[in-house]
């Protein structure tokens, strides 16, 4: 009972993050477009727009992988598996979460600790421009892996009668 409540809360939390994350596409598009007129017309702030766009892009794609999992848009070849029963397919998804996604994401979090923590603590700047915010690119690695762990747990422990959001 407690587990299912925890999973439901986790599921809602991820849904909220995804709902916010999709909006990041707008500033990413705007900033990556602006770098062109800023460079060629204004001749200033182009690198700033690029750097800001870069760390927003990193956060965006870090969230996008889990968005794809929830939207079930990952590319798969269904020719043979379409004949499998629903419980078999569900078992395969849980098995993949258990032996594939969770160990991989946990490893990335642990192995990336020194890179991410040292960058965040030092508020690392972009190497070429010294603009602030480069540490967010590295932090995005933990966002990516953390969301994959959370979604993996939801997939693993979701009661079998529930569909995905």
């Amino acid at each position: 009972m407690i587990l299912s409540r925890v999973i439901r809360v986790l599921d809602g939390l991820i849904a909220g993050i995804m709902s916010f994350g999709r909006l990041l596409a707008l500033p990413v598009v705007l900033l990556l477009f602006l770098q062109w007129p800023l460079r060629d017309l204004v001749q200033a702030y182009s690198r700033e727009a690029n750097d800001l766009g870069q760390w927003l892009f990193a956060l965006y794609v870090a969230m996008a992988v889990t968005a794809a999992t929830r939207a079930r848009t990952h590319l798969a070849t269904d020719l043979i598996a379409r004949g499998y029963t629903a419980p078999t397919r569900e078992l395969l998804v849980r098995a993949a979460a258990l032996i594939g996604v969770l160990p991989w994401a946990a490893f990335v979090i642990i192995a990336g600790k020194s890179i991410v923590v040292s960058s965040v603590l030092a508020r690392e700047t972009f190497p070429d421009t010294t603009n602030p915010g480069y540490f967010v690119v590295k932090l995005a690695l933990w966002v990516l892996a953390g969301l994959m762990v959370a979604q993996g747990l939801v997939d693993l422990f979701r009661p079998s009668h529930e569909g995905e959001t």
Partner: protein, 486 residues
């Protein structure tokens, strides 16, 4: 353990086909299993796997990959703003009436939208949604419309400046750098623009041939009254279609010819569509919100493949599988054509189970550096790879585009009629492939004299080549980082 990596690759192929699980999950699971076996078996110290986070961060900050969500946004907005629909209807009105018109219009739409869809899988999804109901309403038989949508979905593989070409250009740059450094040749290293320029003539040839085939194949189909014929086309539709075609051709042409950077071109196109949608009132929140969610999901789909492929490639390098394949290719008897044909066969077989992105990120970094050690013309190799990918995606019964399409259409397409419908397109495609294979000069049309410096290889012994190749492709460069040393 190098052979274990070969087994791992076979397991990936089997896993993708047999489980029906997302390809990225299979890649991650294979990478995890391979890494665990290598560490437990004592072949690979666990510290070497610490290179993975740095490689993933490289993906997150890759300038070229920023084009990915931008292209996807452009594709989704073209769909949501019904611009693709307007293009299709105006094209139908312009062409002579007949069953050929919708098929030809569909291929044209595929050529315009294909470069923005990101992958064959994404193209299949979007084009089947946009084209299938219209082709069915026009009376085009199921096998022919399946063949036409499949062909249209693969146009993005060869028509510049698609994401496939952008990413292949990047992968080719890395592979060619390794080959040039290894052999000591004085070639100019290939870049994305070279791949665009090289693909232009063969893509144009194939597109023209496909249009001719579509016209001939469907001219005898009994004409149904197409839905579009009953819908009046307004001046607004025509204006929208003309502006859209001009903008797309200018934008994609500008990127393909190198006047516009891919990221900035895609950002400008997406911005223009957003502004147009907001100004015309077609892009209110109930439309924009779901569109942004779709963009994020498709972006995540493509990025997940990169993550899976990056993880598996690292494991294959650590297991020594990449070195094993490199040694084998460098030592393969025969001349240039033999080794090129062998590598193309490997890529073609991979394309039965992997999408273009997975092949570019898993297979290309392993097989192309040794191939380019043997073959100097990197642009020719790149275009052959693209055409091979396209043919494999279309080859029945297991061609990736066909399998995806049969899953998407939710309608059984009998194999015999499908093969008959596809055959003329495949013959056209193989003809272009054969022409490029036999006449490498076709990918160098318009190239300034002396642009590709192709001096004779300097005298480097086979042992030296082998040694340098292993140094270049065996250990991931990131493991020399002080943080990651054992």
């Amino acid at each position: 353990m190098a052979w274990a990596g070969m087994g791992l690759m076979a397991l990936v192929a089997a896993g993708i086909v047999l489980t029906g699980l997302p390809a990225f999950l299979i890649l991650l699971t294979a990478a995890t299993a391979g890494a665990a076996l290598a560490v437990i078996g004592g072949t690979v110290p666990v510290s070497l796997l610490g290179a993975l986070p740095a490689r993933l961060i490289n993906l997150l900050e890759n300038d070229l990959l920023q084009a990915l969500p931008l292209y996807v946004l452009m594709g989704v907005l073209l769909d949501r703003l019904h611009i693709g629909d307007a293009l299709f209807r105006v094209s139908l009105r312009l062409l002579p009436r007949g069953a050929a018109a919708p098929v030809v219009s569909g291929l044209g739409l595929g050529a315009l939208l294909g470069p923005m869809n990101g992958s064959v899988g994404a193209s299949v999804l979007s084009l089947s949604r946009a084209l299938e109901p219209r082709l069915r309403a026009s009376g085009v038989p199921l096998p022919l419309r399946t063949a036409a949508i499949a062909v249209a979905s693969t146009l993005g593989v060869v028509v510049p400046p698609s994401l496939v070409l952008i990413l292949l250009g990047d992968a080719m740059l890395s592979a060619h750098t390794i080959a040039v450094t290894t052999t000591g040749r004085a070639d100019r290293v290939i870049n994305t623009q070279d791949v665009f320029h090289g693909a232009l003539a063969p893509a144009g040839l194939f597109f023209a041939a496909a249009l001719a085939v579509a016209w001939l194949a469907s001219r005898n189909v009994p004409l149904h009254e197409p839905v579009e014929a009953r819908e009046p086309i307004t001046r607004r539709d025509i204006l929208l279609a003309v502006v859209a075609v001009l903008a797309l051709v200018l934008l994609l042409g500008g990127v393909a010819t190198g006047f516009i950077f891919p990221v900035e071109g895609a950002a400008s196109g997406a911005c223009a569509l957003l502004i147009a949608g907001l100004l015309t009132g077609r892009l209110r929140w109930p439309v924009l919100g779901p569109a942004l969610a779709e963009v994020m999901a498709i972006t995540g789909t493509l990025f997940a493949l990169l993550i899976g492929a990056t993880s598996l490639t690292l494991v294959l390098h650590l297991l020594g599988t990449a070195r094993l394949i490199g040694d084998w290719l460098v030592g393969l008897p025969g001349g240039e054509l033999t080794v090129v044909a062998t590598v193309l066969a490997i890529i073609g077989l991979s394309a039965f189970v992997l999408d273009a992105f997975e092949i570019i990120f898993v297979v290309v970094p392993i097989v192309l550096p040794p191939l380019l050690v043997r073959v100097a013309d990197a642009r020719w190799v790149a275009v052959l790879v693209l055409l091979t990918l396209q043919t494999s995606f279309l080859l029945p019964p297991f061609g990736y585009a066909l399998m995806m399409l049969r899953g998407t259409l939710k309608q059984a397409v009998p194999l015999g009629p499908l093969v008959r419908a596809l055959a003329p397109f495949l013959i056209a495609q193989w003809t272009v492939l054969a022409v490029v294979f036999a006449m490498p000069s076709i990918v160098h049309l318009g190239e300034p004299p002396g642009d590709r410096l192709r001096t004779a290889p300097t005298l480097v012994s086979p042992q030296d080549i082998d040694k340098r190749l292993q140094e270049m492709i065996a250990p991931p460069p990131d493991i020399t980082s002080p943080d990651l040393r054992p």
